[in-house]
Each structure stands twice: as C-alpha cells, then as structure tokens.
Symmetry: C2
Subunit: 418 residues, 2 copies
Amino acid sequence: MDIKTQVTEIAEDARRAGNRLATIPPDLKNRALLEMAQELRRQGAYLAEENARDLEYGREKGLSAAMIDRLTLDATTIEGIAQGLEEVAALPDPVGNVTSMWTRPNGLVIGRMRIPLGVIGIIYESRPNVTADAAALCLKSGNAVILRGGSEAIHSNRAIAGILQDVLKQVGIPEKAIQIIPMTDRRAVQEMLSLEEYIDLIIPRGGEELIRAVVQQSKIPVIKHYKGVCHVFVDADADMEMAVAISLNAKAQRPGVCNAMETLLVHHDIAGAFLPVMENTFREAGVRLKGCSETRAILPDIEPATEEDWHAEYLDLTLAVRVVNGIDEAIAHIEEYGSLHTESIVTRDYANAQRFLKEVNSSTVLVNASTRFSDGFQMGLGAEIGISTTKLHAFGPMGLEELTTTKFVIYGNGQVRS
Amino acid sequence: MDIKTQVTEIAEDARRAGNRLATIPPDLKNRALLEMAQELRRQGAYLAEENARDLEYGREKGLSAAMIDRLTLDATTIEGIAQGLEEVAALPDPVGNVTSMWTRPNGLVIGRMRIPLGVIGIIYESRPNVTADAAALCLKSGNAVILRGGSEAIHSNRAIAGILQDVLKQVGIPEKAIQIIPMTDRRAVQEMLSLEEYIDLIIPRGGEELIRAVVQQSKIPVIKHYKGVCHVFVDADADMEMAVAISLNAKAQRPGVCNAMETLLVHHDIAGAFLPVMENTFREAGVRLKGCSETRAILPDIEPATEEDWHAEYLDLTLAVRVVNGIDEAIAHIEEYGSLHTESIVTRDYANAQRFLKEVNSSTVLVNASTRFSDGFQMGLGAEIGISTTKLHAFGPMGLEELTTTKFVIYGNGQVRS
C-alpha cells in the first residue's frame, strides 16, 4: 500500500472514531485514562526495551546529550507520564457543557453547547512523552488524534500508542481514536497536511523550523507560535526590589523556554538607579547583557545591542536591555519587535498598569509578575496542549476548552418564522 | 504603482489602523456609526448617481433581473442600510469585556479579556449593502476591514466606502480602518489572500464557487460555509400539525437561503399518516417533491429521488423526502449527506429530542422549531457577519463576539515562579 493510501486510511478511521467519541460519557473516558496510566507502569520493561532501540540509533546518529536525554524513557519519565494521564482524568470534562443559554421573545430557548473539534493532528519532535500527553488531552476533549512524532522516537512512540490503543479496545472506545503515523517517511507528513476533509486542526510542537515547515505545507488550519520574544517593562516608579526579582525570574529561572524574557525595557527615570543593581544580580546569575547606547552610558562594561538583538529569541542566559522614555515607547517597542506571546510591566502607577493591560496586544499581559506564569498549568487551565500566538480560535496557552468548539442547541415548541 | 504594491499598502494601512482601533472607546465608535447612517441618508442622490453607473454597466452585461435588483441602491435600500448602522451602534460593545476571572493559589488574578482580531478581509458579490453592514460590524468590534466587492458594484461600493471614511476622519478615528480594494482586477484578490502578515481573517460571502476559489487561494484563515443542506426529521410520535407547519416553514418561507430545508426525513411509523397530509399542503405551496421508494409507495405521483438529491442544495421549491426506520438512521443520513449547517427534529419523545441535540454534529440543532431560525438576528446575536460550518474559531451564525478573540490579563503583586 502506498503512503498516500495508508495515511488517508488512518485519517478516515480517525474521522469515524471521532464521530463516535463525541458522545462517549466522561466516566468511560476517565476509566480509559486511569487504566492507560496503570498499563504504562506495568509495561515499563517493554517500553524501556523499545526506547533502547531509539537511543541506540540516536547515539549512532550522533544526537547531542540533551537530545538523548529528552528521548529517554526510564522508570522516572514513565511514572511522570502515568501521573500526567491521571491528572487529565481528574480534570472537568468540557464536552456537552452549555456555556450560556437565553430565551428569545418567541419562546425559543437557545444555548451554546461545547463539542469536540473532531480530529486533531499533532506533529512533534523527539519527546516520546508528548505521545501520551497529547493523546490524553485529545481523548478527554472528545477528539480523535493522529500523532506524528520524530523519527528518532518511532519505536518508543509506537510502543506507547500501542498500549493506549489496547486500553481503548478493552474499555470499549474505538481504538482508532488514538493513532500514530507508523512510518518515518517525510511524505507521510505532507499527505497528512493535505487531508482537510478528515483532519480539523494541526498543532505542531517543536522549534520554529518545524512549525514554519508545517504552516507552509498545511491545507488544514494550524495553531502555532513561532517564537516567544517576551518583554518586561520596568516603569519609572516600579518597586526596585520587585523589578529586580521579576526580571531575574523572567530571564533566568528557566531560560530555554518560550515564556522567558528576552528584552528588558527600562524607563529612563529609573535607569540610573535600577540598572547597576540589576547588573550585579544578573552577573551573579551568569546572565550576559547587551544594551542600547543609553544603557551602556550607565553600564559601560556590557556589549552593545544591535537591531538584531531586539528580534532575538536567545533561549539562554543572554538579555537585551533598552532604555525607553516612557510607557508609549515601551508599548511601541513591543508592538514592533514582540511576538504576541507574553509581556509584563512592573509598576506602582495605576493608570500605566491599566494601559499596559489594555493596549499591549500579546496573548498574555501581566502586571507585577514574571512572564514565566504564561503557562496553562500555572494559569489554572489544568493542562496545556500548546500556546497560540495567532488570534483565531485560541490565543495564549491552550487547555482542554481550546480543543473544543460550541454548537447552538435550540429548544422550541412549534415555532416557525413569519 | 503595480497591483501588488497597492494592495500591500492597503493592508499595511489596515494593520496600523487596526492597532489604534483596539483602544478607541465605545462611545466614539458609536458616534461614527450614527453619523455614517445620517451621512448616507444625506448623500442619497450622490449614491443613486454612482449606483446608476453600475446598473447601466450591469444591464449592458446582461445581468438577470434578480441580480439587477440586488445591485440597486434606492431610497428604500439606503434607508435600510442606514437603519442597519444604527442597530449596530445600539449593540453592546464586545471589546475589553472580561469574560471570566479567577484567582490562583499564589494570589495571581487571571482574566480573559475580549480583544479585536485585528484586520478582517471581506470578499463578496454584488450587493452593495454588504459594504456598509460589514464595515459597521468590523468597526464596532474594533477591527480594521478591507472590503472587496464584485466588479458590478464598484462605483456604488467606492461611494459608500468614501462616505464612511469621511465620517471616520471627521470624528477622529483612523480612516484606514475601513478600506475597499478600489480596482476590479482579479489579481488584487490573489494579492490580498497572500498577505497573512497583515490580514487575520478572510470572510467570503457569496455562492459556493466564490467561496471555493477563496479557500483555494488563501494563505489567511477563511471562515466559510459552502452550502446548507438542512434536514428536518419527523419522528414517530411527532405532533402532526406541528410537523407539517415546521416542514412547510423550513422549506417554503424563503426557499433561496442557506437555512431552508432541503431534505425531509420521516419515521416509517408515521409516514403513512403524515406524508399524504404533507403532500397536500406542500402542493398548495407549489413545492415539487422527490422521494425514496418507500415515500413513493405512499405518494405514488411524486418523482423518484436519486443519490444526487440527498446531496442537493436546491435553493428553490423542491424537496427530497426519505423514509427512515428511526432516529439512528436519521442521524446517520445527516452525518453522511449533511453540511454541518442546521437540522431540526419534530418529536414528543424526550429521549430522542436529547439524543438529536447531543449527537447531531451540525452548527445549529433544533427541537420542534423551523430551521429558518438559524440566523444571527433570530437567535439574538444582534447581528450576523456570516455563518461558519467549520468548527475552528466559530461554528454557526457569527455575531460581534465571533469577530473578537480573548487575551489573558494577569494582575500580580510581585509573584515569581519557583
């Protein structure tokens, strides 16, 4: 069977399974999730064996230690995955909820009912835990899922998906609700991205290159963010201690993630007092600073920042610093260089706090808190399938509700239009 | 200046205007809308003059009487447009509303705030009233709009857009918030559909052919419905009188629209009693019936329906009728042949009513009411910019809220992540 036929069959099976899934009661989905967690624990030895094949191939291929680490499935990572499934089981089920209801003058009662999107395709890189995480969130929200992981993790992904499917069959849910693309050929992704009749949404998870390639090829809507160039703006009357703590946390608590700060904007009225204190703290934390000319007038030892630095997503302990003449310039800088991800203001000024929240266009905007809180778990969404920096359908961290849509349900008693 | 440059400039101007529009207070937007209504009334003679140029060209081109009718701007249509603008001004402003708010254990207060999508492109056929309607809904929801109407209406559209822009300038709103593509060259649409950096959403309004062409070419997300193949299912224990009234209304009250019924499904237990009564009523209303073999066993005079009829969107006084052996077969028929638009069940059975509402996948599902209520105004959304039959972002009739998205706003007092 050729790749096109194979992938199309997977997608047709997913559509059929998705149609059934929409009406499966919450209890049964939760039973499946809890049983999956247990079964993954029981099958630890088998999973480690299959994972070893990927690791061996990865070492031959010369993957970096960091990538090998992300690829590894051991007792600890498997326990983490299992607990993740149990947490998803414990979340409230979004499907069937009526989010609002109203009565029309003619007596029609109209409600909006949450329903699954249908079939979701997830395209991701080498972390095999995504296979279980994404499958669990899609199952819980009533969606069939087609998973396409990296070729480096193919044996691990096949093993995990096989276990999840066995549990589905066992509890009486269509097993095609969770499928992986079993071949590593890149043409399979191209085929998948052309099947807009069967797949409702594509979520790519990985680096900017992967995401751009998916967007380029896809005929199916893609929810994505390319990068996170997040800003903290220290306003003129910021609490100095708070400003240092928030800046440090936003930059250094975990620099390799998309909600870490990449550019610090400082009001010129506070720059003389703030920047030297900040520099000390940041130097201790090993942060390399690059600054605009006004910053370097105060901190002469740091490197100059160029135009490129304002666009940069360093993802490490490097920070660009710019002095601005007020909130207008700060907002204008964010509008020009930001990525619509996450921005924070540190201020004691009521009007500036309100203006920043209202006028900054990004998916998450904070006052007096670290950008690192822009995260589905931290924000109380219960889960996170991804972060969207495009405004359609979802904007910001996406939880279970963002994997659903609403239809209108109308209760009448014989109404006709005149 | 070539077309590409011209269209790109329009889109860049729209992006800039959109960024400003997001923070303009409701009062000012409403003042602009009310003033636009007045100005259109005042400029009736000028509008009629420009419209006459389109009508003359249309008659030369041999447009049908129906199309000439849709193209005509006279005192009545202009008054209708003006009142439409006043109604939009009276609607609640969605922008800035916080739709929910919650507190995290660490004291962060998190809310979802409604914000405009940004820039919306509307591509439509020859009705010039769409120019004002769509511009008003976009302005009210804080979005900049780029309008591309049919070449038959170009003088009318230019005249209307010019008046709206003059009012914007006069009240102090960036006039580029409402723009039309001033040239009729088709390449302008192609260019427009490639500008994903500046345009956030495309809404095509028109026939299936227009919509397919837009979807085919667009790099920007498109919200659309191709057609409405809507169903009414008359259940075994339906109230006969209600079933006839709802079926007749759904088919014949306005047959040329997307929420009119195209296929009637009848439970076989009621078919013998229901179909002859229905046939009488429908014959009086001038409806042509086509039936499955079981239907024709009861109504031998009607034409046979073929496989094609189950897919057909007649948009006139023709109806396909099929006898089914119960709700399962009715739902399966809708799943196979439906267009995810609107379906209704007529029943007195509680369980079947609930099952139909829950299991039918369409954007609007009714019990004991005509499919003709699937309409933004009828449903109380206050407006309708279009109907979506794809699930992402919006599903069903789209009002002002569907022209917005939400961002997360977070109020902290120094929180950092540990």
